[in-house]
Symmetry: C2
Subunit: 327 residues, 2 copies
Amino acid sequence: MSVGIRDVARAAGVSTATVSRALGRGPVSEALRAQVEAAVRATGYRPNLSARRLRSQATRTIGLIVADIRNPFFTAVSRAVEDAAYAAGMRVILCNTDEDPDREAMYLRLMEEERVTGVIFAPTRATAEALHAGDLAFPTVLIDRCGPPGAHDSVVLDNAAAGAALVDHLVAQGFSRIGGLFGATSSTAQERRAGYAGALARHGLAPEARACAPNAAAAEAEAARWLAEPGRPEALVLSNGRILMGAFRAARALSLAVPGDLALAGFDNEPWTDLVEPGLTVVEQPVAEIGAQAMRLLFERIAAPDQPVRKVVLSGRTVLRGSTGPR
Amino acid sequence: MSVGIRDVARAAGVSTATVSRALGRGPVSEALRAQVEAAVRATGYRPNLSARRLRSQATRTIGLIVADIRNPFFTAVSRAVEDAAYAAGMRVILCNTDEDPDREAMYLRLMEEERVTGVIFAPTRATAEALHAGDLAFPTVLIDRCGPPGAHDSVVLDNAAAGAALVDHLVAQGFSRIGGLFGATSSTAQERRAGYAGALARHGLAPEARACAPNAAAAEAEAARWLAEPGRPEALVLSNGRILMGAFRAARALSLAVPGDLALAGFDNEPWTDLVEPGLTVVEQPVAEIGAQAMRLLFERIAAPDQPVRKVVLSGRTVLRGSTGPR
DNA sequence: GCGATCCTTGAAAACGTTTTCAGTAATCGT
DNA sequence: ACGATTACTGAAAACGTTTTCAAGGATCGC
């Protein structure tokens, strides 16, 4: 029923080997190549990629494992990854873990079974810490979050510096009681928290940090609880775009004036952050470049499996808007 | 090097056929099944999915072809599709066409070569119109946009009704010069425009419709141009969330008060639309249900290839907010 | 007690390619 | 002119599974 390479070979009057070579880049005379191409058109032949992958042992597939594609950060990174992948003739398998280590493990096993060429992975902290060099059967680049030094290639933000920059700016604007709400599951949030705490210490201030699940709903609930307590902070640092949105929602629900009652500074320059009133001060991550660099690192790792582990640290860009004062 | 089913068979002291059956759902005695499972654990065997797919002729793969995953509508739909797919033991290949018919054609050919089990596709108008029953070698469900009636299963919004509902509401709020900015590439935008125009006619009003590429940047540019002209409309209907964002940006850049100088009503209840001031009136699409229904239709089509073509029409929910007045 | 039926099992044949291995014809160097 | 390359080509062997197919042994009905 389905037309295979044998049918093309018969139609072109050549062997299947010649058809394969004509379609790939084997040495074939011009005359035969033309015959084969005509036969392909005549028969409507479509190569079977499963067969091709099995025989050639090159799946040309990369896995992309993220927490949740609905987080605009991952959306943007994934788009960059896919563009680079398709441009290189590769296919992407996208997996959402919802920050669940069990699902991470499941998808990593799936990647093995797919015999992927490589994987780009944003692991939870728990998984990242347990992930040592050589654990994975395929080249892997960690993004956004990274594990123990030297275990895997990675491309991350300079999170501590970015967290500190937000604190410095808030202090310069006259705030001193600066709280922080950080994601509970990622190393990234921890680093941002460390930068936040370090900067506060440098200014002789005390940190007040809390944690929540890294999504808008959980952040809103936690922020609402916190802000209703007596003696709430004057300013809040939020460790990613989803948490920032949740906190902004909570402030609005409690009718807190921003920045009068509460200043807000967060991460991820999502398109809505300059649409609300006041605009929100954020550290913008170079999302497209993160994706592109991850693919570059992955390709280079594939080309040279034994080269030393590399870590690309990108800087965030602090975008100052009305939400951070002055006090 | 890599451990295959032969190694497992040898370790378990059985044939490869028995291993295959033990791993799948063939009839195997409990004793042997246990031996096989022990051998699998001992050897660290991982089935090779390429080989499995080739031999079984079941790729268990579905293609998802959308305009741009960064559009929150597609992000949400895709997440629903992927959840349903993985729950059914299927994998998803995601493709972004950027509304380019050439890329659509390319990805459709890729889907053929992948021998996908089925495809969920949001085609441009050009492609949808050229897409007749039997054109595609695989079961296909169209989402968001649909082609000629009866050609393919589809799940769409009742776009005309939704477009009309926005106009009715604007008229009820006292607006009469109601312009519309619609995406240029999708049938969906056209249907919304038709509903918009029909409702205006019903009210004895004249439509003023323009078109733009369905992304925020293009919409902002077009809206800025339009709103700077003399005699601009009192209200604008925007055919999707990206265009709504662009128009809101343009209004803000021109310092137009919403809804005082310009009322705004659009599509897609994206999370930011109730965060801006004023909140934006929108028709909310049931994004998760669109994805889930599409998968359901696809699975049912696969189970019964010859059943009549079905079209699921979902209703939008109009969310009234401050951006639409009263005048 | 005996044929029919059922349940398990293994050997071997697919699945649709690419790649190896030879072999032929043509070209080259001297 | 002759051996050595070089450039193509086809037959056949992979690739790692699942799925026949046939057969052995147990169970069943009577």
